[in-house]
């Protein structure tokens, strides 16, 4: 498994191991799998990606993330994701600074277009990582979203 990703270096080895062990029990890969508790409860994006068998995702420019540079309100941040990688079957989203970064996986079947719009809670300014899966391989890209304080703070 490649460990070239920046966030891997930051990840605690023990935690990663534990997550990998959990993932093995829960069968990595999503096809027909139940809601992946191990991945959803992982406290880092890298652990969640391991639990999902996506840790070896390679950087790709063929995934487009449309999200605000500065979100008006972290409680509702709109994100549009489109993958132009041929044969994309799923898109997964990780908000790296959230307490539980893994936010969800969207599966496309019967030729539905690999596009999804979702709205998420982002607790503090954070990279939003997207992994697209095509032909059993994983591709990834990231976009930074800043959240601000608005209103009177009262």
């Amino acid at each position: 498994m490649h460990q070239t990703r920046r966030s891997f270096i930051r990840a605690g080895g023990a935690a990663a191991l534990l997550a990998a062990f959990g993932a093995a029990l829960l069968k990595p890969g999503r096809a027909l799998a139940a809601w992946n508790k191990g991945a959803f409860e992982a406290k880092s994006a890298v652990d969640a990606m391991r639990a999902l068998g996506m840790a070896n995702a390679e950087d790709s420019k063929a995934i487009d993330i449309r999200a605000p540079e500065i979100a008006e309100n972290g409680a509702v941040v709109p994100i549009d994701i489109t993958s132009s990688i041929p044969g994309t079957t799923s898109i997964s989203v990780f908000i790296e600074k959230n307490p539980f970064p893994y936010t969800g996986t969207f599966d496309f079947s019967q030729g539905s277009v690999p596009y999804v719009h979702l709205r998420v809670k982002i607790g503090e300014s954070s990279p939003v990582r997207v992994v697209a899966t095509a032909g059993g391989k994983h591709y990834t890209t990231v976009k930074e979203v800043k959240v601000t304080i608005g209103g009177c703070g009262g």
């Binding site: 999503r30 809601w35 992946n36 959803f40 409680a75 509702v76 941040v77 709109p78 908000i95 959230n98 307490p99 539980f100 893994y102 936010t103 969800g104 996986t105 969207f106 599966d107 496309f108 079947s109 019967q110 030729g111 539905s112 277009v113 596009y115 999804v116 719009h117 979702l118 709205r119 998420v120 809670k121 982002i122």
Partner: protein, 106 residues
């Protein structure tokens, strides 16, 4: 009791643009109520969309999805008059399904 969803499914060529509004609190389990007690986690976990009974889109999601969730996706090979249904299920086992007929785009 789960409240109805609002679903819009409009054709653009042979692609149906589907937009869904769901009524759900999406509690993270980290919020405290007025009396200072933690409100237990309560959030949608799975979503399935079917075109004439065949699954075309599905999702597993976390409590980080915003309250009263909004999703949009695109279904290829749809025709005006096709039936599109959406089902969600939350961590308490609550479920809701709503169905619309796909409309021709304007």
């Amino acid at each position: 009791m789960a409240e109805p969803m609002k679903i819009r499914a409009t054709l653009q060529g042979d692609v149906a643009d589907v937009r869904v509004l769901m009524a759900h609190p999406m509690e993270t389990g980290q919020r405290k109520d007025a009396s200072g007690k933690l409100v237990p986690m309560h959030f949608i976990q799975t979503i399935t969309a079917q075109l004439n009974g065949k699954t075309v889109f599905s999702a597993d999601v976390s409590q980080a999805i915003s309250r009263n969730p909004v999703f949009a996706f695109k279904v290829k090979g749809a025709k005006a008059g096709d039936k599109l249904s959406v089902t969600w299920q939350d961590n308490k086992g609550e479920k809701r399904t709503d169905e619309v007929v796909i409309r021709a785009g304007s």
